[in-house]
Amino acid sequence: MVDVAFQQNRVQATKAVRKRNGLHKALKRKSTVAFLMTLPLILLIAVLVVYPAFYSLHLATLNKSMTKFVGLGNFEFLFKRDTFWLVVKQSCIFAISAVIFKALIGFIVAHFVHNVPANKQRRWRGMLLVPWVIPPAMSTLAWLWLFDPSYSAFNYTLSFFGIGPIPWTGDANWARFSVILVNVWYGAPFFMIMYLAALKSVPEQLYEAAAIDGANWWQRIWYVTLPMMRNIIAITTLFSLIVTFANFDIVRILTAGGPLDHTHIFATWAFRVGIEGSDIPLGASVSLFMVPILAVAAIFILRDISKRGNEA
């Protein structure tokens, strides 16, 4: 990834070439300056991102007191535990359904905002993006209070319709629903803003041509909008999949994994096991299970980016 070989410039760095005679030296000087400018970035990434990532692999092979090498022992242990498989299942349900709903809601809302006269769009966009701006830890507290078992404002409202009381965070399935709901609330504005930017880049003439050909609204979306937005949809979805899969704040604050571990996802369970249960190697092993899906998403995103880089 960041295996940048930069040693070749180190020698020149010491004797900063002052004379600018000849193109060759000037070029060398430029690369030296460039290297020095990127050095803090390289150090930061190497020491605080790449090294910990590999260190986590090493940690995952140690025993609880971190004194003995146990190979794949931690993973064997995990595979035998029901909680682990529960966490795997829940992480997938959580990430996939949250991303689908975020994408759908974002797509629909972006269309509605796009329909509104241009001078009013700013105001609506401003209001609808608020969930994304509030720190998720803070807004999840508001949701926790809205879901409160005895004072829930939702249950109060629903009671007028003869519904409820709903155990928002008390029952396993409702708790899963609540966690996903909060995540959708938080993440949908991001999709909305991305899709809105994409919608604006679709030429109006295409819609006019489609209208002349007698396309209805559904055909206009299916044959004009979606193909034009395909790239943005793909990259936003992949990106959101990574973020959602690695989510921590919302689940931690809303349910802390409960009831009975039925809302734990990889990140929260890794925290519970690794930090709260002070079994760092096991926690590291749990969080490593996020890597495969991240890698797959990253490969797709990267392919898209390099493709666009070639076009540019």
């Binding site: 990127t38 910990p52 986590s56 329909n115 509104v116 803070m138 931690r252």
Partner: protein, 303 residues
């Protein structure tokens, strides 16, 4: 990598009159209807924070209509803003965010300049690497980082765990890759003629950066600054892992660990704290919405 323009006016859609106008009028009405629904969905939690923050504990426990304040009071605000502990959280958060924004800018702006303009061996790989780093989530790194800093403490005697300034080392891993990435985009969109002219006039690379690139790419710089600030203000996992003493906590963790005492939830104060914690990003957003959105869309739509 095209220029990212700040779009203030929105698109210009021509209103058409004629046979389609009636359809359009209905479409517009439906749009407004659903937009109102979605706006209610979006704004309910923050509004509910505000409503609850204006209630006294007695009114909350009386379980009257939760959506209405019968006896508005500022006692929660006064209580929190005069509490040394809460102010401590606030200042910790503020200092961490200010330092992190500064560090981020000092690292990412020169790096982005070098990667965008001064092609050198491995620069393309490095740019891709920066983007990949941005995709590595905090939840993957918190355990090894925690162990690393604990070991550094054991080896050197410099205790970094449970000090607020340990966050200054860690937050840049979240902010620097993204800021570098969007700054590369902004810098690359500046016409080559500008810096060539500067070089011919005898400007050094450093002068080219400070006199030309930074002023020209100022919108991008503002967007990156806003991003770095919001990320460091909102970060929850790292402070939760790295700090435990109440005088070292930042705002989000402080509110959650100190205001929630066992089973006694003082919801009036919790909501006030949450609202005050959400205030700085919201205020920035209210005034600099266009930059905020430009930064948001630049990350993924760049190209």
């Amino acid at each position: 990598m095209s220029a990212i323009t700040i779009d203030k006016a929105g698109p210009t859609r021509k209103v058409k009159y004629g046979s389609m106008s009636r359809d359009r009028a209905w479409a517009l009405r439906w749009s407004y209807f659903f937009l109102v629904l979605f706006a209610i969905f979006s704004l309910t939690p923050p509004l509910y924070m505000l409503i609850t923050s204006l209630k006294s504990s007695a009114e909350i426990s009386a379980a009257t209509n939760p959506w209405w304040v019968y006896h508005p009071t500022l006692e929660n605000y006064i209580g929190l803003l005069t509490s040394n502990q809460f102010l401590r959280f606030f200042w910790n958060s503020a200092w961490v965010s200010i330092f992190v924004v500064t560090i981020t800018m000092l690292i990412s702006v020169p790096a982005a300049f070098a990667l965008a303009r001064m092609k050198f061996w491995g620069s393309a790989t490095l740019a891709t690497g920066v983007f990949l780093t941005y995709l590595i989530p905090d939840t993957l790194l918190f355990i090894p980082l925690f162990k690393m800093f604990a070991l550094v403490g054991d080896w050197t005697g410099i205790q970094l765990i449970n000090r607020w300034y340990v966050l200054l080392f860690i937050y840049p891993t979240l902010t620097v890759p993204f800021c570098t990435w969007i700054m590369i985009g902004y810098f690359a969109s500046i016409p080559k003629e500008l810096d060539e002219a500067a070089i011919i006039d005898g400007a050094s690379w450093f002068q080219t950066l400070t006199r030309i690139f930074i002023p020209v790419a100022l919108p991008g710089l503002i967007a990156a600054t806003i991003f770095a600030f919001t990320v460091s203000w909102a970060q929850f996992l790292y402070p939760l892992v790295f700090t435990t003493s109440t005088d070292q906590l930042v705002l989000p963790v402080g509110i959650i660990t100190t205001l929630i005492k066992g089973d006694v939830f003082n919801w009036g104060q919790i909501m006030t704290g949450a609202l005050l914690g959400a205030a700085p990003p919201l205020i920035i957003y209210a005034f600099l919405m266009d930059y905020y959105i430009a930064g948001l869309t630049a990350g993924a739509t760049k190209g």
